[in-house]
Subunit: 346 residues, 2 copies
Amino acid sequence: MIVTFEQEKSIIRTLLQRLNASEEEASATAEVLAEGDLRGFASHGLLRLPYIIRALKRGTIIANAKVGVVRETPATALIDGGHGLGHHVAMRAMRLAIEKAKKQGIGAVGVHNSNHFGIAGYYAEMAVREWLIGIVTTTTDALVHPWGGVEPLLGTNALAIGIPSKPSPILLDMAMSVAARGKLVEALKEGKPIPEGWAIDSRGRPTTDPKKGLEGALSPFGGVKGYGLAFVLEVLAGPLVGAAAGREVVGTLEPVEGYCTKGDFMIAIDPAAFGSADEFKVRVQRFVAQLKGSRKAPGVEEILVPGEPESRTREKRLREGAPIADEVWAELEQLAKELDVKLEKR
Amino acid sequence: MIVTFEQEKSIIRTLLQRLNASEEEASATAEVLAEGDLRGFASHGLLRLPYIIRALKRGTIIANAKVGVVRETPATALIDGGHGLGHHVAMRAMRLAIEKAKKQGIGAVGVHNSNHFGIAGYYAEMAVREWLIGIVTTTTDALVHPWGGVEPLLGTNALAIGIPSKPSPILLDMAMSVAARGKLVEALKEGKPIPEGWAIDSRGRPTTDPKKGLEGALSPFGGVKGYGLAFVLEVLAGPLVGAAAGREVVGTLEPVEGYCTKGDFMIAIDPAAFGSADEFKVRVQRFVAQLKGSRKAPGVEEILVPGEPESRTREKRLREGAPIADEVWAELEQLAKELDVKLEKR
């Protein structure tokens, strides 16, 4: 299936509102999931809607949630997400961080009692649109093994850092594992091996068998350094914001008995607090120009800055639509039927 | 040569004061360099003193520098380091970030017109000692190639994140390259090859020849993800704080014609601004206990948290002293002689 951006957003909004999500909650979720598919992060796109619908039905995600600031200074805040839709809660958190950064030069907002929020980069870009730097991190269910360990005890803990720049912004958006769990699931379905280094089996041995990798743990990117980074992000978006850590993080992959225990941590920084915003712009452009104009390795056509590959995929898919896996579509049709909604095909 | 912590600090203080550094500047530099050697970061220890002495003589590092806050909000500041000793300037920056964090929950301080500051972890630990989270990054001369590129255009850009915890704090302190440049220099001296993945030659091909690697560029850790992280840190500790980026960063490896153009960026965060400091402590301890108590991979004796290996080396060297390379000692003896100072051996 190919769906357009507007079509995908409309489907998501309709289904969520049928399940009593507010207009604002439904629109936020629709926007971030559809942006995920546009950029090529299928695992953070429409694929997640069936999970969200199941959780809403079960009551582990609460529609029309009471989201509130529970602790605050002029530069910081902690938000209780009221177990609401993660995308809506995260947007509110970044809006508050932006507001604070505009007044104080920096704003940091933590979130707990929330849910999976889709692509972290979306929220970093909210800051970038206001010509601020945005930093976003979040925890997930434990999927990654510690260095020297065998059990999955760290989340894939996305880190997104957005930097305003002309002509196009810079957006780093990455997980702490070498590869996403979804890629192993895909390889398993297609009966293909996975590259060595992606995962270990349940006894801690490197494996190229996706099934054994899924039973074992994902490996952190960059070895012990990636482990270290995953560790500190787990604390920033976990204990710091009153959320869980390690195997106590649950509910980001599948609905659980209780509520999801993940957390988020976001920072917005105003370059104008540290110097001339114009000089910042010029210096970043000059840096990008150095990279773009430098010699390329054999076989490389172009040197890309963080976010550029996704931004190109996004432009293409805005015109042509995004591919949605047949089984995701089939599952959605079934869920829509149960909710008495008819999904429009293009 | 083996030197004790106190002996090393005394040597550094004496030589720097002979070159008109203030008591405070000399002590700060002595403290951070000696801590570098204690932790096993020889490249950031006494080895750097001859460089500092050459730069002080040349006037590209200024003794008794005028360090000042040039821009400020209640939560942020920009410091002009007055081309002073980087360690002293960085300590002042972190002290200010800590002060702001205690009042506002978060404090962010940028630095320009400064010099190489030794180990980034030292400043993150300053925050940790006050039971705050410390985040520190800094730029260096361009040594790392962009993903797909051949030329060194990114610094090794240290990132240190310190988290207060009992019984021992967590301290991530890492560079963006797979291996430090110093390790290639060492391999070259010893006539040994380097592992594949550390560096590329000047034509962009992976190499195991340290000489070719030094003529080429260091590779970022973790592939394209490490490149992305090095990129955004270069902007945070560069353009954001009014410092240079890419090949315009000079003076961190060797004294140059003009001043050093690097920058630093530091953040201190008070966990108490986001929730109960006690609950934070308990949650971090529980996370560490999960990791420590988890199953180990074949051949692994213990799972370590970030900072633990260095902290063990530190304890050992506090008792036994730190090894200093003979040629570093010989160079220092020569420099000391010129300054009419006698170096004490143990």
